[in-house]
């Protein structure tokens, strides 16, 4: 299954909030939506959820027109909330029923998930008696109860302790392995990097960067090198005297040597000179830009 968003435009009054958004996501893969607050992530998600209508553009599912009514979508909104004064099992069954499940089926699934998340003992407790992290897990169950084909998680990791984050991580990995389309919106780049093959960075309502994370990283110049060695001071001296014309910056960071080359193609030349001069080298690797760097670079002029 493949979902494609093509040339989506949306404005509220005079304010254009989405400009020519193009995205695609496939089964068994997670797409990360990145962007600063107000960049248009939630609006895009809400159009997918059928809460808003786009001004123009189209959404296709396997090449055909996407019909929200026929889709099973599990949605974890950024703003969490369920019925605080209702019993947990009761409201999970209610959400299951709303999504078209039979009462008994919804009860069984809710039960299974509660057991999986180690929360079976709370099934007859009111939601408000639970901690924030546990409430979030209940909300995730409400989103996933009907085994949806598409899962949209808006900032799923905020407010979770490491143990709960691990549970959620395992669940997301399982969803991906079960061939679901996972749409992931987060500010926590480490999680995006962990799950998502593809990302789309939104800034001021437009996509400023999108594609496979590995490809995006490779598209950056590979001229930053990290060298690990016992002789870094000697290496630094050697490079400054013999290779000064090839290098724009040399510095020692955390007992490693950081070099920035004028030309990325000179990497082998440097490595060759160092080995010819018998320097004892432990590691010699290209420093790729982190997702965080890429994100900041593309969104620094945001809202």
């Amino acid at each position: 299954m493949k979902i494609e968003i093509k040339n989506l435009y949306k404005s509220f009054g005079d304010k254009e909030v989405l400009k020519n958004i193009c995205l695609s996501a496939e089964s068994g893969k997670a797409l990360g939506l990145l962007g600063r607050n107000g960049a248009g992530k939630t609006t895009t998600i809400r159009i997918l959820m059928g809460l808003f209508e786009a001004n123009s553009g189209e959404i296709l599912l396997d090449g055909k027109k996407y019909d929200r009514e026929k889709m099973h979508i599990g949605y974890l909104p950024e703003e969490r909330g369920l019925y605080t004064k209702k019993k947990i099992l009761q409201q999970l069954v209610y959400f299951g029923e709303l999504k078209g499940m039979k009462g008994s089926e919804a009860k069984r699934c809710a039960h299974d998930y509660l057991e999986k998340f180690g929360m079976l003992e709370y099934e007859n407790k009111k939601l408000q008696t639970l901690s924030k992290g546990n409430q979030q897990k209940i909300q995730l169950i409400a989103a996933l109860i009907d085994d949806p084909d598409i899962v949209i998680l808006d900032e799923p990791f905020t407010g979770l302790d490491p143990v709960n984050a691990k549970i959620l991580k395992d669940e997301v990995e399982e969803l991906i392995s079960k061939n679901k389309i996972v749409l992931f919106s987060s500010h926590q780049m480490n999680y995006i990097e962990e799950f998502c093959n593809d990302i789309a960075i939104l800034n001021q309502g437009a996509i400023v960067k999108s594609g496979k994370i590995t490809d995006i990283k490779k598209s950056y110049p590979r001229n930053k090198i990290n060298i690990g060695s016992n002789d870094i001071k000697e290496i630094e001296k050697f490079l400054l005297t013999n290779c000064n014309d090839l290098i724009s910056e040399v510095k020692i960071v955390d007992e490693n040597l950081f070099i920035e080359l004028n030309d990325e193609n000179q990497r082998n030349n440097i490595l060759k000179q160092l080995s010819e001069n018998n320097f004892d080298i432990d590691t010699f690797n290209v420093i790729e830009p982190s997702l965080n760097d890429i994100f900041v670079e593309h969104t620094v002029e945001g809202i």
Binding site: L51, E69, Y75
Partner: protein
């Protein structure tokens, strides 16, 4: 439909399991139950603490004014008459002075004293007159009958014939044919049902608005609206509220009905008028309750979805509540003036904001033609659906609106901008 059923079931159970619903229903039923047995209860208490039983057992003092009663036989015949007519009472001739008699009554030694000033003038001395005290009335009536008999005898009419004459009241049968609805008959049940309708819409309308606002406040609404169709949610919620309200009224009025029919006071008064209410009135109550409730509840629910917090509701719903209260006041004034078919009321029969109450009042108390009722109901039904669909859209839009509570003109603007 399945979603609607789920929403309906969930909301209905939420309503009837809520503490306020249970409390109001139980208190309402209890009040009706107690009220219906209160009069019996009081009379029982009255007898238990020395009421009628003791009154009967104490001798009734009888004194004759010696200036007018010279013949002792006359006095004896009066006492004989009283003893025969009122076997429960013991009549005792007395020679005490007036002040002594008064003293006796005051001290509770005797309850009643009858002073025969002459054959035509009788004076009673009692400590106090209670409302249900029939003693004085009955004695007076008996003595009157006796006097009339004596007069008839002097005209040569036999005792038996004279008694027949006196006892039969109905030589001429009268009936009253009223060309319009009998307003005195219908006034009270219309008043009570109108008030019940008013209270139910007010109470449940606000409850629904609060319910929606709290869903928005706890952010459950975004989950709901992305899980189910807004029309299913809106119609499920509102119809569940209407049914819960109807159930509550049914339980309270049902208790009242059963209690009153089983109690001693079921004859006469407002209650018997309520019970004797024509069946078609009940059908109209049902129709207007359902339509009026749905109409207002949809509006309240839509307004609730625009509130950011439960506290914002009162501000949002005030204008619509004002319209509603005005409709109620209009009906009340028209009922009080007796002219429920005024031009204003006729116009209001077609305005959905006022028609549920106005039509109901005109049907029970005025002269309304069938076509007018049908047109009024058709317009109301059409508006209920239109408002329901609009409310669903506003509800859907409301979920994404946080921040300042929108004003009415903002909603219109958004509608124009086709955001919803």
């Amino acid at each position: 439909m399945r979603q609607f059923k789920s929403v309906f079931k969930f909301e209905f159970m939420t309503h009837i399991c809520s503490k306020s619903f249970i409390a109001i229903t139980v208190i309402g039923m209890a009040v009706c139950f107690i009220m219906s047995f209160l009069p019996t209860f009081f009379s029982d208490i009255g007898s238990a603490i020395g009421g009628s039983e003791d009154v009967k057992s104490l001798p009734v003092l009888v004194m004759f004014n010696q200036e007018n009663f010279i013949d002792e036989d006359d006095e004896n015949s009066e006492i004989m008459f009283l003893e025969n007519a009122f076997e429960d009472y013991d009549f005792m001739r007395t020679e005490l002075s007036m002040s002594e008699i008064r003293e006796n009554i005051k001290s509770g030694e005797n309850n009643y004293a009858i002073i025969f000033d002459s054959n035509e003038e009788i004076k009673f001395i009692v400590e106090k007159v209670s409302i249900d005290d029939r003693f004085i009335r009955n004695i007076t009536s008996a003595l009157n009958t006796k006097a009339k008999l004596q007069i008839m005898n002097t005209y040569g009419i036999e005792n038996e014939q004279a008694l027949n004459l006196l006892n039969s009241n109905e030589y001429i049968k009268t009936t009253v044919d009223i060309t319009t609805s009998d307003q005195t008959e219908s006034f009270w049940y219309t008043y009570i049902l109108l008030f019940a309708l008013y209270m139910a819409i007010m109470m449940y309308g606000q409850m629904i608005a609060q319910n929606v606002a709290s869903e928005k406040g706890t952010r459950a609404m975004e989950m709901l609206i992305t899980s189910a169709k807004p029309t299913s949610l809106m119609f499920g919620k509102v119809i569940a509220g209407a049914l819960a309200g109807f159930l509550q009224l049914f339980l309270i009025f049902g208790t009242a009905f059963i209690s009153y029919t089983n109690s001693d006071i079921s004859s006469g008064g407002i209650v018997s008028k309520m019970i004797g209410m024509p069946m078609d009135v009940l059908v109209y109550v049902f129709i207007f309750f359902v339509l009026g409730f749905l109409f207002y509840a949809f509006i309240y629910a839509a307004l609730g979805s625009l509130a950011n917090r439960v506290e914002d509701i009162s501000m949002l719903i005030t204008p619509i509540t004002m319209v509603y209260v005005l409709a109620f006041v209009l009906c009340m004034f028209s009922m009080a003036s007796g002219n429920v078919d005024s031009a204003l009321m006729k116009v209001c029969s077609y305005v959905p904001f006022t028609s549920p109450m106005v039509l109901f009042v005109r049907i029970t108390m005025g002269n309304i033609l069938m076509p007018e009722i049908v047109v009024g109901i058709v317009i109301l039904v059409a508006f209920v659906f239109a408002v329901g669909l609009l409310a669903s859209k506003i509800y859907k839009m409301g979920v994404t609106m946080y921040g300042n509570t929108p004003k009415f003109k903002d909603i219109l603007k958004l509608r124009k901008a086709k955001k919803i």
